[in-house]
């Protein structure tokens, strides 16, 4: 599965510091290995009925430190299987961010974005030039990400990538080193 390069959708706007316990509580995620089941508990901490309200192709826009707390990959998986097409945040917590690339959920860091978007605004994510277009037409570039990670995301995550290339994207990475 290769992600299309332009994603258009309505935005769910979330505050700063949305942690993984809010995104999917432990007691639900630790009782299933089925991503469709996990999606039923997406954003449960804020709204247990979220899964009934979300529509395919919706986007997330959040403040700083989205996905903080636990390492649970079930958090981005629940978002992905809610058919949310991408997550845009002012910043991401480290493990959540890694997990997004590993499962092929587009995650873009755009400083200041939460103030530019209102709940259910139609916005556009460009995965080619790695930017976000808000309702007024202005374009907000996301922070740069190494090409191997964008490639991983485009190809749908680690499983898809490995099946196609028979290696992991970092195995062919040339170690970058700064001259002394």
């Amino acid at each position: 599965m290769t992600a299309p390069s332009i994603l258009k959708g309505r935005a769910w706007v979330w505050p700063d510091d949305v942690n993984t316990d809010i995104i999917i509580p432990f007691r639900f995620k630790a009782r299933t290995n089925d991503p469709v089941e996990m999606a039923k508990y997406a954003m449960y901490g804020f709204d247990p009925e979220f899964y009934k309200k979300v529509k395919a192709g919706d986007l997330f826009v959040a403040g700083k430190n989205f996905g903080g707390g636990s390492s649970r990959e079930q958090a981005p998986v629940a978002i992905k299987y809610s058919n949310v097409a991408a997550v845009i945040a002012e910043s991401f917590a480290r493990i959540f961010y890694r997990n997004c690339f590993a499962i092929g959920l587009p995650a873009l860091e755009v400083p200041g974005i939460a103030k530019q978007v209102k709940q259910f605004d139609e916005i556009e994510v460009n995965l080619q030039d790695w930017s976000v277009k808000t309702r007024d037409g202005s374009v907000h570039p996301a922070l740069k990400v190494p090409e191997f990670l964008r490639g991983l995301m485009r190809e749908g995550g680690l499983v898809e990538y490995y099946k196609r290339h028979h290696n992991f994207p970092w195995e062919t990475l040339e170690t970058k080193a700064v001259a002394r």
Partner: protein
């Protein structure tokens, strides 16, 4: 070249360990650079492991890279509280049979690894955020998710970005009733919930020598609450003494250079710190105990990978001895490992707990993640020595969690409301 790097005076701990351990690298990397590390120890637990097993199957590699270096730990809900969890535990045991990886049941992963396997200079990836606890003895230890864990099982390697570093100088002496947990809570409040995101924290200064390995483990563990990648205590005589006592040897003793450059430096006089309590919802909403004293509670929980060590249970026992848990309040005490459990029984702590009216459980994450043995109902209030107070973490999304040291939680259990532990010590 490796020796040159070890002696390099300009590198932080994180920069140095990554340069030393990156395969055949032989050059200096700086924050932001990306490289690949070989893995010495890989751990997944019962809420990240089943998904990793599924992903590993989908990747389709026939064998794991090295079964002796892979640990599957059943700790989050041990023993299984219901059928659904039991099924996932079964999946893990079947995977262990098939691949020969190591199975651990009934000790919290981080404590089990610290008690048995972690050594200075090793590279440890765990599918659990609090893996950074291994930094207490100078290991590169950090958390990842299930898919990356599956990739580690397949290849024995993983990419890392060299983090920026933060230095915290600890000075002074702790006052009575104040513990390692209060130091780290105080620090989280200072830097905020994402103040350590992507960063490596180095704990330094004259007060470090007074901190036991258990106290360091508490600090390294709980540093995760500011998002850090690593939280490091370098090897010192306390570490060496500990390693001798458990008959283990360092892989590398990494020391940051004296001219290393840090993103931020903090000076903390630990003599000024008082018992700290984080208010419900966010780990950085930290107050002095006096500001929240008297808040009624339904439950006090003492345990977790942050504060379920023998040192913690000893303090709780000291406070609870000769007292009763307030009627209508429950006090749940959960050791972090089988070893701690046994020691607490052998040395009479269990008896003190039971006489006080507390519940003393087997080792598990249990209440910390609201899976069993201390789950909170609608609108209930808990004071907990676990690391997180997020919405719904321990049960109903309307329940509320205050965080504190085990001492503050024990004193609160006696009074049925948040209480200052200094009155009991």
């Amino acid at each position: 070249m490796r020796q040159d790097i070890l002696n390099d005076d300009s590198l932080t701990f994180a920069e140095k360990i990554i340069c030393v351990r990156a395969d055949g690298l032989g050059k200096i990397l700086r924050p932001g650079d990306i490289t690949v590390l070989p893995v010495d120890l890989a751990m997944a637990q019962d809420s990240t492991g089943p998904l990793a097993i599924k992903v590993f199957g989908e990747i389709g590699v026939p064998k794991v890279w090295d079964p002796s270096k892979i640990h599957l730990v059943i700790d989050h809900s041990f023993p299984a509280p219901d059928e659904k969890v039991a099924n996932l535990h079964h999946l893990m045991r079947e995977f262990v049979k098939k691949t020969g990886v190591r199975l651990v049941e009934g000790s919290i992963s981080h404590q089990h690894l610290l008690e048995n396997h972690v050594v200075p200079g090793m590279i440890l990836f765990g599918a659990d955020s609090h893996t950074c606890m291994g930094g207490a003895v100078g290991a590169f230890a950090t958390g990842i998710g299930s898919s990356e864990m599956a990739a580690v099982w397949a290849s024995g390697k993983l990419w890392v970005k060299v983090p920026e570093s933060i230095k915290v100088n600890l000075n002074g002496q702790l006052n009575k009733g104040v513990f390692a947990r209060d130091i780290v809570s105080h620090f989280i409040a200072t830097v905020g919930e994402d103040g350590g995101n992507y960063r490596s924290i180095e704990w330094k200064g004259p007060a470090v020598k007074d901190l036991s390995i258990a106290s360091r483990a508490c600090i390294s563990n709980n540093s995760m609450e500011c998002g850090c990648k690593l939280s490091i205590f370098e090897v010192d005589p306390t570490t060496q003494e500990y390693l001798r006592s458990v008959n283990r040897k360092s892989m590398y003793e990494i020391h940051a250079g004296s001219k290393a450059s840090y993103k931020n430096e903090y000076d903390v006089n630990i003599g000024k710190i008082v018992p700290e309590v984080a208010e419900p919802g966010n780990v950085d909403k930290v107050k002095e105990v006096g500001e929240v004293e008297g808040t009624p509670i339904d439950e006090a929980f003492i345990g977790s990978s942050t504060n379920g060590r023998y040192e913690d249970l000893t303090v709780a026992a000291k406070i609870l001895k000769g007292h009763k848990v307030k009627t209508g309040t429950r006090c749940v005490i959960t050791p972090a490992s089988k070893g701690v459990f046994e020691q607490a029984i052998k040395n009479g702590l269990a008896e003190i707990f039971l006489q006080s009216g507390a519940v003393f459980t087997n080792a598990t994450c249990g209440a910390c993640v609201g899976t069993h043995l201390g789950v909170l109902g609608e609108n209930e209030v808990c004071i907990s020595s676990s690391p997180r107070n997020y919405i719904g973490r321990m049960g109903a999304i309307t329940s509320k969690i205050y965080l504190s040291s085990p001492a503050t939680a024990a004193a609160s259990a006696i009074e049925g409301k948040i209480a200052d532990p200094r009155r009991y010590l």
